[in-house]
């Protein structure tokens, strides 16, 4: 079937190129905002969901599930309290527990969190689709004063194997209380994971204990920094407390039972959470803000589409002669109608395409910054089915909005005949 007006609609719109360009720019910016918000939201969600897998339970001091998840896995916020080593040992020995990984947080190195753990962390921790941690260089720590760096921490701070780092009290980028007398040697650098692991400095639990000798009250005592490494190694460096621990079970079926058992543990106020459930709670908390943001950006798209309508409506009168000429050449009224609808759809389609391209370019440039600053590796930033739906939807919506001016032009063309009667 021949469709004679589409090419005319495009050329007519391009003939008014300044107006057309501004209209398409408005649509492009609105679509870029909408797609950008959605892609960042979906990318961040995917990144969060891929941060931990294969862990059945996370146990920490009694707190909300979201809070425990955020500080233990995402290194966001602070733990409410610690849990005792005895409780950890007791739970680790429960039947059905395949492995446990202790986590000790609270110190930092140049703004990167330092996490005390054991070698089991590198063996059992999984992210994404149960992917294990892999070493880009070196190996897991074997000595008290050895450290393994996440990929981003090593890259940003310029560390390589054999470098020495000192750990500071607290989590700030600048600290006034550093354990300079007990440096750690970098023995391993992990491959990038796109998770907060990349921004973590991993040291042995015993190392955390060692650098805090003389700091038991939270402030430096005369004992701090007076012991040699040999004297430190000779001491019992088993921690009294840890921040949290991860549990892997022989069978996930046992998770609910063990969770209930831990949550009602009489010896200490503990919370056990399932990572997936806690994540779902997290999404429900931020879902309202998410939906609000999407609604706002959808309204911006509506504003962009309104500019298409305004652009066409304001051009109608000056184009009555064009319509009369087309009618004289044999164009039917529906051709005139279709011309206006096609023009609206064309402006919106090109605008939406440009908006999508803007998003791809912008996010490609912003993604490394996001990863460096927040440890969030945004995924799915390229073209996808959702983008096609948005571009199609915007084009369709513009075509529908074009029905109004098209009807007006249709009526004009019937009234004007072969000449213009203004």
């Amino acid at each position: 079937m021949r469709f004679p007006v589409l090419g005319l609609a495009i050329r007519s719109a391009l003939n008014r190129r300044v107006t057309a360009a501004l209209t398409m720019l408005a649509v492009a910016l609105s679509v870029a905002l909408f797609l950008g918000v959605e892609k960042i939201r979906a990318g961040a969600k995917a990144s969060f969901e891929s941060t931990i897998s294969g862990t059945d339970l996370i146990v920490g001091a009694r707190s909300g599930p979201v809070n425990l998840l955020l500080y233990s896995v995402f290194r966001l916020g602070d733990p409410t309290a610690n849990i005792s080593w005895e409780s950890y040992q007791l739970i680790a020995r429960q039947p059905g527990v395949a492995w446990t990984v202790p986590l000790s947080l609270g110190d930092s190195h140049q703004g990167y969190r330092v996490m005390g753990t054991d070698a089991g962390y590198f063996e059992h921790y999984r992210y994404g689709r149960r992917q294990p941690l892999e070493f880009a260089q070196g190996h897991a720590f074997e000595d008290v004063f050895e450290a393994v760096l996440g990929a981003e921490a090593a890259r940003a701070l310029g560390y390589s194997l054999g470098d020495e780092i000192t750990v500071a009290h607290g989590l700030g980028r600048v600290s006034f209380a550093e354990h300079r007398e007990n440096p750690f040697t970098v023995v391993g650098i992990l491959r990038p994971t796109g998770t907060p692991v990349d921004r973590t400095v991993h040291v042995p639990l015993e190392g955390i204990e060692a650098i805090h000798i003389g700091w038991e009250t939270g402030a430096r005592s005369p004992l701090a920094g007076t012991l040699s490494e040999e004297e430190i190694r000779a001491r019992d460096l088993t921690p009294d407390q840890i921040t949290a621990f991860l549990i892997g079970l022989d069978s996930p079926v046992a998770a609910l039972r063990l969770q209930r058992s831990i949550n009602t543990y009489p010896g200490e106020a503990l919370s056990a959470i399932m990572p997936g459930v806690a994540l779902a709670q997290l999404w429900s908390v931020i879902g309202v803000a998410e939906r609000t943001l999407i609604a706002v950006s959808a309204f911006v798209v509506l504003v962009g589409l309104t500019t298409v309508l305004i652009s066409i409506l304001t051009s109608l009168n000056e184009r009555r002669r064009e319509m009369a000429i087309l009618r004289s050449l044999g164009a039917r009224p529906w051709h005139i109608f279709a011309l206006l609808v096609a023009e609206a759809a064309f402006l919106a389609f090109i605008g939406a395409l440009a908006g999508a391209a803007l998003v791809y370019g912008g996010l490609a440039a912003a993604a490394p910054l996001m990863q460096a600053r927040f440890g969030v590796m945004l995924t799915g930033l390229g073209p996808g089915a959702f983008d096609l739906y948005v571009i199609g939807g915007v084009t369709l919506a513009a075509a529908l909005m074009g029905l109004g001016p098209a009807w007006q032009a249709f009526r004009n063309s019937l009234a004007d005949g072969l000449s213009i009667r203004l």
Partner: protein
């Protein structure tokens, strides 16, 4: 056995038309005929209803009563869609100034009617080649000029492109609505001669409308709308 004589290009009988239902008629024409291949000059002062009459012949407007036939088709009895089809297939129109689409090239302007009429496209054959041929006869042989936008042409060039556009696909009737009003005397006479030559070549009838009675010598016959139109005579014209 002799061939059937071709149907007249235009036959109007007892035509009455008013812009408002029940209002005073602008046109009240008992009879007006343009024979097949005939070249008729229709003059009348501004406001006499010339453009309205052309709209009725082209089937864009409908008469209040009476009949309008074009090349044997009673367009006044047809529905809007069929009238549009008859116009697209059989009528070429030349306007006054600015009657080309400024954003299209010369060639695209000329081939435009064939987009809306399969019959004209079929009669033209290779539409672009036919457009080039017509344009060449009308003085456009420079390829750069064929690709130029209509807005870049002089008034005289635009009129010749408009003529080529009206003639493409060999419509049986060419309607020219004051096409020379913006041309000087020499250009005007040259344009009319060229137009008549092309109509003769394609066998099309020509209905040429103007308020300038001095042009009538070029045509087979001249009619005065003020005499054809009883409404005008009785002082009921709009």
């Amino acid at each position: 056995m002799s061939a059937e004589p071709p149907a007249p290009a235009v036959v109007i009988r007892d035509l009455r038309f008013a812009w408002e239902r029940g209002g005073p008629p602008l046109l009240d024409i008992p009879e007006f005929v343009v024979g097949a291949g005939e070249r008729v000059f229709l003059r009348g002062p501004s406001g006499a209803g010339k453009s309205t009459l052309l709209g009725l012949i082209a089937g864009v407007l409908s008469p209040g009563s009476g009949s309008v036939s074009v090349l044997g088709r009673a367009v006044s009895d047809l529905g809007p869609a069929r009238r549009d089809q008859v116009r697209a297939d059989n009528i070429g129109v030349i306007f006054q100034l600015f009657n080309l689409l400024p954003y299209l090239s010369v060639l695209a302007n000329v081939t435009l009617p064939c987009r809306f009429s399969a019959a004209r496209a079929a009669r033209a054959g290779d539409v672009e080649a036919e457009a080039r041929r017509l344009l060449k006869r009308l003085g456009f042989s420079d390829p750069a000029l064929l690709a130029a936008k209509a807005a870049e042409l002089s008034v005289g060039q635009q009129q010749r492109v408009a003529a080529a556009r009206a003639l493409i696909g060999s419509p049986g009737l060419i309607i020219a609505d004051e096409p020379t009003s913006a041309l000087d005397a020499d250009s005007r006479n040259a344009f009319i001669s060229l137009l008549i030559e092309e109509c003769e070549a394609s066998g099309a009838a020509l209905l040429f409308v103007s308020h300038d009675a001095g042009l009538s010598a070029h045509f087979d016959r001249a009619e005065d709308l003020t005499r054809l139109n009883r409404a005008e005579r009785t002082g009921r014209a709009a």
